[in-house]
Symmetry: C2
Subunit: 343 residues, 2 copies
Amino acid sequence: MQMDERKQKVLSAIIRDYVSTAEPVGSRTIARKYNLGVSPATIRNEMSDLEELGFIEQPYTSAGRIPSDGGYRYFVDCLMEREQLNDSELIVVRESLHDHLEVNMLMQQATDLLSQMTNYTAVVLSPEVGKTTFRQMQLIPIQPNKAVAVVITSAGIVESKILDIPEFLSATDLKKVARFINRSLMGLSLDKVRMALFRELAEKLKKEEQVLSQALEVIDEALKAEGQERVYLSGTLNIFKQPEFKDVEKIQTLLGILQEQNTVRHILNETSKHGINVKIGLENDHQGFRNCSMITATYQVDGETLGVIGLIGPTRMEYSKAMAAVETLTDQLSLVLRKYFRR
Amino acid sequence: MQMDERKQKVLSAIIRDYVSTAEPVGSRTIARKYNLGVSPATIRNEMSDLEELGFIEQPYTSAGRIPSDGGYRYFVDCLMEREQLNDSELIVVRESLHDHLEVNMLMQQATDLLSQMTNYTAVVLSPEVGKTTFRQMQLIPIQPNKAVAVVITSAGIVESKILDIPEFLSATDLKKVARFINRSLMGLSLDKVRMALFRELAEKLKKEEQVLSQALEVIDEALKAEGQERVYLSGTLNIFKQPEFKDVEKIQTLLGILQEQNTVRHILNETSKHGINVKIGLENDHQGFRNCSMITATYQVDGETLGVIGLIGPTRMEYSKAMAAVETLTDQLSLVLRKYFRR
DNA sequence: TGTTAGCACTCTTAGATAATGAGTGCTAAC
DNA sequence: GTTAGCACTCATTATCTAAGAGTGCTAACA
């Protein structure tokens, strides 16, 4: 059996209706609301075909039809018209995400915007800190035997960690180490800094002053701990708006998953091919998302992928609007982050 | 009517039973489980009295009794024995919260611990940054016309903000400003720094070099923005464990409130008298918490209150255990934070 | 051959009714 | 003052029925 134009129209109508009402759609409803110029009986025949093709299904005998995962897939691939955000939304995005913001803020803002515009749950993975470039390190004594190591990067991200300092290291020693490090590492990416740290520096310093190399070890550890992408989350409460999640247990499971940053990071990294990406229902690897659809897209600078934006909603999702929002945000992030991450 | 010893025992039994089962308690149950040496009929009489006293109530005629807010209040004030955390829990607390941690980490850790140990929702307000003392400020150029201002405090907290720098300020100018600020402000509390910034410094600098005073304005703004206590939240999903919150709407409202950091901050600051504090049901000002009880306590250093710890659960709460946990954590926090906040 | 009207059939949902059972309050006896 | 006995209340559950939405099939129609 083939999809002809009328079948497409019927499927499209079913999906549009179900997306907005969340109720199974009957033949009469379609005949009434979407004038295809044929009677309910004809539509019933078409629906029967669509069911055989696997695009729609009945929750039970003699209820209306609801789209299947496959139906949504066909809709997204072949029927849906891609749309743009409207002008006022575009303005909001551009004005909210500008290069005055420190990267943390920028990411949180982007996540908030995405969930507000779509009413779904937004997730963003920030760039790995390792991909920014090193600007400066400070070692500042704050208490006897304690100092803060502060790392400033081109993204304005500041990583800091409290270090234990052995007694025999004076404030002057600390300054010396910092100055030495800064001279040597300026402008390198943090990934390279970490590589370089042990090999070259520790080497050199050991010859000159064995004392200082100890400080380096601690710093290396501090850097190692901060390597991963951060997870930003917003609009988790939007889940409650969806009738498919009126069940407490479903909400609980989903919220549970979303709170595990490692899981979220993993899921997003897995799905993040270049460009925009839609996973519908069972297409999702993680079984906690089998009721959900997830739209992801990567943002990049100079061809290098820096992070992922994700949007999670029910399979009964406004794909066109959602994709437009995700796409706009990745574009804007890519644009703004150029200043921080360009090599 | 007076509370005699037997009434107390009956009330205590009702509360203990209801806390663990969440089901209305009948006279037979009490006679069976808690051997008071009297028959159900006698207990019924006592229960009738307790109801008249306002300590228990019936959800409907001929159901068992459940404790009222007043009943819990009497229990907490007069009947309950205060307990301690057990040894293994104490060890966990002490080992998890030590002074190697940066303050942010410390707070998050404390919040997590509190919710894990109690199975309720934990909220912690961090010390206001203004109460730490100033150690050092750096102004680091990262792009043309942009610099990061980094403030390092005695708590190891690093606040950073990206500043727009006018063209005519050179890197050398920036260094000069930073050096000047550091010389002048070292050791002051951040509150005082902010006060001092405009009055003295801007004054002096204006005379010497009008250019640099502009940089100061931006820095002042950066400081202003970071003044508030941070809100740490953990164990929100524990709400789902409570049968009184099996209703989706109740969960939603509560989660909604908890996500508004300003509201939470306000509520916690309101209730935070010195020492440990229990608000039961309607005693809570915020009406979203009328089903809840909240245990709060402040932690302090050198007599100065730095922040608040809160624990939120249903009124049907294990008060004794919960209070023990809150108290232990405030003590430990007070202890650890001495190193960072002592004047 | 494709389209449509008609109709019997299915299955959920909502509402009504009845049975169950836990628990009380009251009375009278101990 | 305590207790046994008993009638009464009311939520909960199960069962049943009626209503309604929607289908699938058949037969007629263009």
